[in-house]
Symmetry: C2
Subunit: 325 residues, 2 copies
């Protein structure tokens, strides 16, 4: 269990989370928490939605990237930061680097959506394209790091990133102190492990659950097997959740998360539409998996108080799932 | 000018607006005000978006209906309230009546969208269907009022409704005190005339502008002609703005509004998409006409502070305009 032991040494402490909140405060939004009587009626519980779709770059990812970028020493920062991503993490790193005034090197697959490439470019990042395989992404990234001396910011398996993501649940617990549960979606596990740590340190009575598509249920299977299992051919509309856990996020989730809910595709779409129609919030499919779990599960105690992290709102408005149903 | 004189006697006073705010406080949401750096950059001004899409029933209409319903004496209220509408006003009257515990009689055209009929039914209102003409609606309404003794609540040409709608701008001016302009969309004119009165009474330096589709520009033409001109065959995606002004709303708008911006259909759609994508807010086409005016106009002074009332968020998610462009 060497991996697990070394991962345990990397679990962010309470003090690191408090410092993370301080470090990102000048740059990140304190996002609002919304409620909806009609969705409370549907689910039979009291729901508090933390709106990370309103966060900078449209997703919670800005918190972790911003914290990681601003934790660097001036010397480290001068060489810039690097990552590989075709999604929200790329924009988050690019914007954080822009704010700090340092270079950002982003490796993107050559088939990345034009709109996402454009967004990263607008933040002034240096983009290197590569073949659309994980292997090509990692090789290209290593090369970029070797050439530039930039610091690699992993999208989730990184203590600073996890501590940054934890600040969403810290804010939620501060504005709604006595939550019975918090539900966060789980892909690579940065948000879920940060949420679990926030609850453990600041509201130990609050139980934390993950929510994951059935079609990308590596976290569920890893959690119950007690060891890391990679997702095989994840194929879900929740594109932010196709990633598998890393050893650090797995260790935190295995220790501090109560359980993982698995949600069917049709329920994800139904939940997404419900939030758009009833709450007038644009959320992306990944953000609908938590609310979907509440629709699908019938083992949720009545009338409990549940915090839900709406993780992001970046979605192609011309490709909405209910237009193809 | 008898109409105009009698209308002038009906213009709500400052005190009526203050009382309206008090009356609706237990029932209506104080909606948030949002800003967007990226839209500020696009328009070259500082924008403050008052989010009435988050209001009860998903639109500002709840304010006016709620005020009118709760201003009734107990005797008047016992006989119930009535209106004809296929849109947000019907839901607003139905919900307000439900909260007060009195009957609501809603006359709807037999071709009204099923989803809107359903929403009104869910609030427990009594629906009477009629032929889809203004004449049939008015005749049927008169009959319903005669049979039930219910009080007719006009959707806009009614002082209590106007005073209720004014509370949106009152809240906006309270949270952002030194606005140079406020822009509100104009259909029947309830929101725009309420907004104009709120500015006049509580922030006289603030200029109020209306925003209207070119394809339903009766308010623009009436405003510049100095007398009421009915819209002929209004055909715009902004379905909430197809109505023409009434004599009371015209009188207030003619006195206290600075000017009316006219906006092309393509700009309305572009502005709607911009708000969805950049602010993650679901707004209806009518709510996008104000932001559209800012995109289209080039006679807006740089760097001024503008309040925008996002009037509502009720839209058919399967019929989004950019899917047909």
């Amino acid at each position: 269990m060497e991996t697990s032991l070394s991962a345990e040494n990397l679990i962010p402490e309470k003090d690191t989370l408090l410092k993370a909140a301080e470090i990102i405060r000048p740059y990140a939004h304190i996002t609002p928490v919304y409620t909806s009587h009609s969705i409370d009626d549907i689910t039979g519980s009291h729901l508090y939605f933390k709106c990370e779709n309103f966060q900078k770059v449209g997703a919670f990812k800005f918190r972790g990237a911003c914290h990681a970028v601003f934790r660097l020493s001036d010397d480290e920062a001068a060489a810039g930061v690097a990552t590989h991503s075709s999604g929200n993490h790329a924009q988050a790193v690019a914007l954080s680097a822009k704010i700090r005034g340092i270079p950002a090197y982003i490796v993107m697959p050559e088939n990345a959506p034009r709109i996402k490439v454009q967004a990263v470019k607008e933040y002034g990042a240096d983009i290197t394209f590569c073949a659309p395989t994980l292997n090509a992404r990692e090789t290209t990234l290593k090369q970029v790091v070797r050439e530039t001396g930039a610091t690699f910011i992993h999208p989730y398996n990184n203590p600073e990133v996890i501590a940054g993501q934890a600040t969403a649940a810290m804010e939620l617990l501060e504005s709604v102190p006595d939550l019975d549960w918090i539900i966060a979606p789980v892909g690579g596990g940065g948000l879920l492990s940060g949420t679990a740590l926030a609850a453990r340190y600041f509201s130990p009575e609050t139980e934390v659950f993950g929510a994951e598509p059935v079609r990308a249920d590596d976290a569920y299977r890893s959690f119950h097997a007690g060891h890391l299992i990679q997702a095989e051919h994840p194929d879900t509309i929740a594109d932010g959740l196709r990633t598998s856990l890393g050893n650090l996020t797995f260790t935190i989730i295995h220790h501090y998360v109560q359980d993982i809910f698995r949600v069917e595709e049709a329920t994800i779409i139904r939940a997404m539409r419900m939030i758009w129609e009833r709450m007038k919030l644009v959320i992306e499919p990944s953000a609908a998996v938590g609310p979907g779990a509440l629709i699908e599960q019938n083992r949720i105690p009545a009338e409990i108080r549940i915090g839900i992290i709406l993780s992001g709102g970046n979605v192609d408005l011309t490709q909405l799932p209910w237009n193809h149903a």
